[in-house]
Symmetry: C2
Subunit: 498 residues, 2 copies
């Protein structure tokens, strides 16, 4: 339990006149204080400052700040997919349905969405679980993806991006105090939404390490080690997996997924599968396998018992529509009473943003070969994914030519998480400055080259190792510049401290 | 503290083979179980069922279900404001900027919003606090509203509807255990988001009663009674006010607001002012006074000390754009260190939906007299608000002609919360059915007339009194039918149990 000062007015009653603020660092929610989110942390705030300074004409060794800290495709110049935006415009201003500047399939989608909205307006609240016909489209999309394994709209919950659904699911799962407090297994390195949500909920974080030497693969022996150690001080109930990996970019093999599912069943863990990068797979021989498909292929012994939630989003893949905050979660084998509680819980926030729901509907129900928008849609989609594959290759190759930087292949997702070797003198210098070494490294890179990365310490890494996360999203020509600048900086930095 | 069963695999280790689910009603977050949200509760779920039955051709004494349970203007047939939707279409599909079907001021707004978006796309993430130029527009809007009292964009946080900001603010404020657990004062009747959020956060709800006999006005003596009683078992730190009132529709006098602010200062409470209905004031002699304006007019002794957050939304007023989940919060006198924590906390969810942010920008920066869209915009805006005023009057008048229904004037907001007198036999019958009496009443109304209201028990009411909440949003002609049907039902119901 946490202590909190009694209301100061008790003192006032005792005649003390001066009082501080009601809400201070000492009297605020202590769990919130523990929350950290490096992807938008101090280094990003400094980057924003520097951008302002540049605008104000302050001289810098560079003319623009390149924000490679976050997977924000459109901010990096990726153009929206025409079809998606046409339908959204039609939904926003249905008078455009009378106009003949839009293709029929876009109008058809818009009409269907509007007919399923209260008063035929995307300005009406939807059902809290999401618009029913969109949940049906999501279920059909999952069935196609998983080779016909059934999916029910009743198990689909539309959400405000994937983050919202992940936090909601964790909230349902966390309970108990002391030794029986819920423990949640997350990979290290991790996407810091997880550690932040666990801090906020006061849950116990159980860290399992991915194997950098084996392309950031997941090893069940390491899961078991982490679990057994955690059993001493908490009640492990949840296993979180990110595949394809963020920040590590690995794509899990079918075998690995089977092993994880078997482990979850043996150890009676609820599986949370973060699969928002499911369309972002680039490496030769890598393929996305959904946890649900593998679960069902393992037979009824598994498919009828293992409890799971899978998450998807409109923010990544080829769409990159982060600003719309669209997403969904599919729950599998969830206790019906708990599902009722989940539905009740999401109803308090009324509904996910309807424009994001509409966007999701287009992602799961894209133009078909016999429809007028198909050719353009496929051309745009393929171009985005092909460029990402090329940038993934380019990034790995370039970094591995730099002495002191080692980089695993970017098999999928949108990031690289290379390991950097830092001279002892640099580590000592960072300590002097009161910074962790990779934060010091990234801050120097930002100040000297105008490139904004996230230090590996923001995601977690093995003691004594240092990394950074960089998105591969900048346009190819700009990415080449970024990689070159990082190369030069790294050599300069290493020399300075040798 | 709550107890939670140890992970069942402990049993497995001891050789027990069969195991239940990981996540059950017994092993889930107990705070979530305590959450209740009547506005979308069992009665609404039944209403949805009945709609399906009607579609399937099941015979009912009515042909459609009228959902008067929630303030969802567009679902009730209110047409979106043209200007807002034109700009949103332009932002969604900027190719339309080349088209000459849209007025110049709509294009100007869209260009400004797009220029402030990463990659000029509303599909990019925004700053977590919200797009800066929109926060500037919000600050200027507040300054105009409050007669020039300064507002800083740094104190504005854009949000996913008002609910999101209210929950976030409460989360910051809640701490402590046992007797020092944070207590939060909320009005009874209340909007159930508050009780739901407090249950979720495990905070202590401190109920103060509004005075039904005085038009649901707030009495400081009652605040003091509730506060002193609460001091025995918790640490009261927060006072929540809803003005104009939901579900009660009262509009607070300037004097009342001054008294509340004085009380908050004396008792060292953080003020949360839910002002989402600030443009919905109908009654003769009633006027909206923002808590911030009154606070500053009370002089530096107050304006420099009392900590406050005020909330607004794009879902109500004349826009009724609930589906976009737009809103903002202004914080006043907040400790800078706490503000940094708040900014960090919201960054974990990345950003509010950008289409909702764009919509908010239009609400705070509407067409000006010298702009082409001004006339249509004002015509549409005025028509919506005039119709609401007419429906507010109509509702009060009609209900007060029904023996056994007494109804305060709907001074503002979008709801009426009339008191219903129920015969003892009806109360006994409800008990037999295992329902609270007003739930039984509303369920009967739904089954017999197809009208969906929310029982007063979902908002809280004085022991032994019964109410329901009804929105005044149905189109005037339909509202007349609704009121007539409720009248007939009430007489029939009363007779049945006399």
């Amino acid at each position: 339990g946490t202590w909190c000062p009694l209301n100061m007015s008790q003192q006032a009653v005792n005649g003390v006149s001066h009082r501080g603020k009601v809400l201070t660092l000492d009297s605020m929610n202590p769990n919130v204080k523990r929350v950290e989110y490096a992807v938008r942390g101090p280094i990003v705030q400094r980057a924003v400052q520097i951008e302002k300074e540049l605008k104000e004409g302050v001289k810098k060794p560079f003319t623009e700040v390149i924000k490679a800290n976050i997977g924000d495709a459109h901010a990096m110049g990726q153009k929206p997919i025409t079809f998606l935006r046409q339908v959204l415009a039609l939904c926003s201003y249905p008078e455009l349905l009378e106009d003949n500047m839009f293709p029929e399939d876009a109008k058809k989608r818009a009409r269907r969405i509007l007919e399923s909205c209260g008063g035929h307006s995307i300005g009406a609240y939807s059902a809290s679980q999401g618009i029913e016909c969109i949940r049906q489209d999501v279920a059909r999309y999952i069935e196609r993806r998983d080779g016909g394994i059934p999916s029910s709209p009743d198990n689909i919950y539309l959400s405000t991006g994937a983050s919202d659904a992940i936090v909601t699911m964790l909230k349902l799962l966390v309970c108990g105090e002391g030794r029986s407090r819920t423990g949640v297994m997350i990979s290290i390195p991790q996407y810091p939404l997880y550690s932040a949500a666990l801090a906020d909920l006061g849950a116990v974080q159980i860290s399992y390490y991915l194997d950098e030497d084996k392309c950031w693969s997941l090893d069940v022996a390491e899961l078991r080690r982490a679990l057994n150690a955690a059993r001493q001080h908490c009640n492990p109930r949840v296993l979180c997996i990110i595949n394809p990996g963020n920040p590590t970019g690995q794509v899990q093999s079918r075998q690995c997924i089977e092993d994880v599912i078997r482990f979850a069943k043996e150890e009676h863990l609820f599986l949370m599968a973060d699969e928002v990068y499911q369309d972002n797979v680039y490496a030769e021989g890598c393929k996305f396998h959904s946890f649900k498909k593998v679960l069902f292929e393992m037979g009824p012994e598994y498919s009828s018992t293992v409890e799971m939630a899978s998450f998807h989003s409109t923010s990544k893949c080829y769409m990159g529509e982060c600003g719309f905050r669209g997403g969904y979660m599919e729950v599998i084998n969830m206790d019906p009473e708990v599902k009722a509680q989940l539905t009740k819980l999401v109803s308090v926030r009324l509904c996910p943003p309807v424009p994001g729901q509409a966007l999701l509907d287009l992602v799961v129900n894209p133009p078909q070969p016999d429809e007028p928008s198909y050719t353009t849609f496929m051309k745009e989609r393929t171009a985005v994914l092909a460029a990402l594959a090329e940038k993934a290759r380019l990034t790995e190759e370039t970094f591995n030519t730099v002495p002191g930087i080692t980089c695993n292949p970017v098999q999928g997702a949108m990031y690289t998480f290379p390991r950097i070797t830092l001279p002892q003198k640099a580590i000592d210098k960072a300590k002097e400055e009161g910074q962790v070494p990779d934060m010091y490294y990234c801050m120097r890179l930002l100040e000297e080259e105008g490139i904004c990365l996230v230090p590996g310490s923001g995601f977690g890494q093995r003691e004594g190792t240092f990394h950074f996360r960089m998105t591969i999203l900048p346009p190819t020509e700009k990415l080449k510049v970024v990689l070159q600048k990082i190369r030069e900086f790294h050599l300069r930095f290493t020399q300075e401290f040798s």
